[in-house]
Symmetry: C2
């Protein structure tokens, strides 16, 4: 079946482009002596995670939520890092279930009260829980400050049911800085601070072996941080137009990665001149007011065409040249892949535009 | 179970407030001699649709997409109006399936080419398809212009497998005009134009019996349009903070309707002073940059508290007074209910904050 025959709105992933992205990132990390910890928050799809592992050079998979981690574990993935604190009895109970399914399921923490709760649950379940200390890269989202990290690290090390394996320092707020120079200097400044904490804690505990961080926007610069052991890159595998628009660098030119995913929509009304209405609105394509999606054909941007959100179920497509007929297929880039993929139940996999598979977006909370 | 024990992020609906909204709208429409056609696009939840029907005074239920309609039909709802054109072989095939499940499943159309395709499919399935002519309320999304409507109406009437039952004129772009006076005058101007078309078509075809339109924002004014037969109101049943902020009118004071739905989130990190981090970001609460959600407690807005999106999975909550402890529950209003409910799999139903049921958001495309 050709992708134009799919019922719209729907996501399509071109396999060769996706696999080229996996290979490229695996090779670059390996050349720098680092592992990948691809982030499933990007796609919430265990099939993609399995392909990322098969792409090689991976320490495991990252998950942003406890439910993502449990879904990954149930899909057979045995090395998982949960990159946000797991707080509350219901989530910790899921964490204990996940431990029983995995070879190594690591969780980050940033708070001693949370550490004590994890310690109590680990004792009750008669396990030793592997943890990373979450450092706050001056963003204030999660993590302990660089200043307070040594003390919290030591306190965690003293808890017998927690096994401190290292640190996490993920600077989400830097990933989309347009200037490559500024993105590099900010990322390196923060990761060097993280590296100092890592060395300090390792001096007291030789078992420390993980320094996890980085993302698609800063990966090329972060490869230069000697202490960093693994990269939590997410969007690289599919790319999106916000990342593609960033200024790249020799080592990680975004033009080397390619947009592997797009949204198919159909013209459902064409009574106007200058624009047509398609069946993809807020519920199919996440609203990113400053960067609307690009309209593409055969992976090329169509000049003179433009998309605007037109309510919950509809989009407005300004065209150039002849007016698209009813039921024409209009292909759109994803500006920010994470929340848009999260709107869908499936990703259709294509090979040269022919549909060859259908992967469920199965890591959404059920 | 108390709603604070639910695993977050999750939606909660307080039953008494929801039912009060249903009763209020049903009573107001009945007093004006109109029926309701509650719109399932708001909630994509067949349990809510069934409650709306049970609330009385309904012509049936509205659906924005073919998959919503099919879901409603499978849930046993027999009177459905599909409010957007059904275009393309796959969608028309679903429409034919829906016809076999329903007593009356009406579809709107705005294009003669689409009419011919529907006619051919209806003939093949040996049915007569009930349709409404979709009028464009000068919005340019779907619908035929007022000027061209009489001609298209006549052409559709001449197709033997289509049974023209009336018109639809839904002015989505007016629903959120802040000034009640302006909202009323614009809505009445457009619906009077619709009424003229309705009378014109009915003069030639006495079978015409439906004039469907209106929404939560203009319902009170639209009740005054004599020819209007049914109101496609959506958000009234749950209300959201964007609607609640609008200037009301005696006949439809938004303060009479009450916010029946909210989002529960949990504090997952509280290392900062002035703000904490909760587990509800872009993937749990749709991004509405101009109207962030309100933070509420016992259905009252908490003064001095403020929410900001903090990435895909997190929110930043500025607090007033004592810092919330880890795992505190922070309740948020939905600014725009449609796309936010669409992010969830379930709606938890509460009675005085105790969880008594769990309704699946089952009308999402599968």
């Amino acid at each position: 079946m050709h992708k134009h025959e799919l019922s719209t709105p729907c996501l399509v992933l071109e396999l060769s482009r996706f696999e080229a992205n996996l290979t490229l990132m695996a090779r670059r990390a390996a050349a720098a002596g680092k592992l990948l910890r691809p982030h499933a928050k990007t796609h919430k799809c265990s099939q993609i995670a399995l392909h990322q592992l098969a792409g090689g050079n991976c320490a495991g998979i990252s998950a942003a939520t406890m439910s993502e981690a449990l879904g990954l574990a149930r899909a057979g993935i045995e090395n998982i890092l949960i990159t946000s604190p797991v707080v509350g009895a219901d989530k910790i109970s899921d964490l204990m279930r996940c431990q029983s399914l995995c070879r190594e399921c690591i969780v980050v923490l940033d708070n001693y009260e949370n550490a004590l709760e994890l310690q109590a649950n680990a004792a009750e379940n008669n396990i030793v829980l592997p943890v990373l200390l979450d450092l706050d890269p001056e963003m204030g989202r999660t993590g302990v400050s660089f200043e307070q990290a040594p003390e919290l690290g030591k306190a965690i090390s003293a808890l017998p049911r927690l096994c401190l394996l290292g640190i996490q320092c993920y600077a989400g707020h830097l990933q989309h800085i347009p200037s490559a120079t500024q993105r590099r200097s900010e990322s390196q400044r923060l990761l060097h601070k993280g590296a100092d904490i890592f060395k300090l804690l390792r001096a007291e505990n030789a078992a420390l072996r993980i320094f996890s961080g980085s993302g698609t926007g800063t990966a090329s610069f972060d490869l230069q941080i000697e202490e960093l052991t693994e990269l939590q890159v997410g969007s690289y595998c599919l790319l999106d137009s916000e990342y593609a628009a960033l200024e790249g660098e020799r080592q990680l030119n975004f033009n080397d990665f390619c947009a592997a995913i797009s949204l198919m929509s159909s013209v459902v009304s064409n009574n106007q001149s200058g624009h047509v209405t398609v069946d993809a609105g807020l519920k199919a394509l996440y609203y990113t007011p400053d960067s609307p999606p690009l309209i593409t054909q055969n992976a090329k941007v169509m000049p003179g065409w433009r998309y605007e959100w037109f309510g919950d179920e509809h989009g407005k497509v300004y065209y150039s040249g002849e007016k698209p007929v009813l039921n024409s297929k209009i292909e759109l880039s994803l500006p920010h892949c994470d929340p848009s993929i999260n709107l869908h139940e499936f990703i259709y996999v294509t090979q040269k535009d022919q549909v060859i598979d259908k992967w469920p977006v199965d890591l959404k909370k059920r």
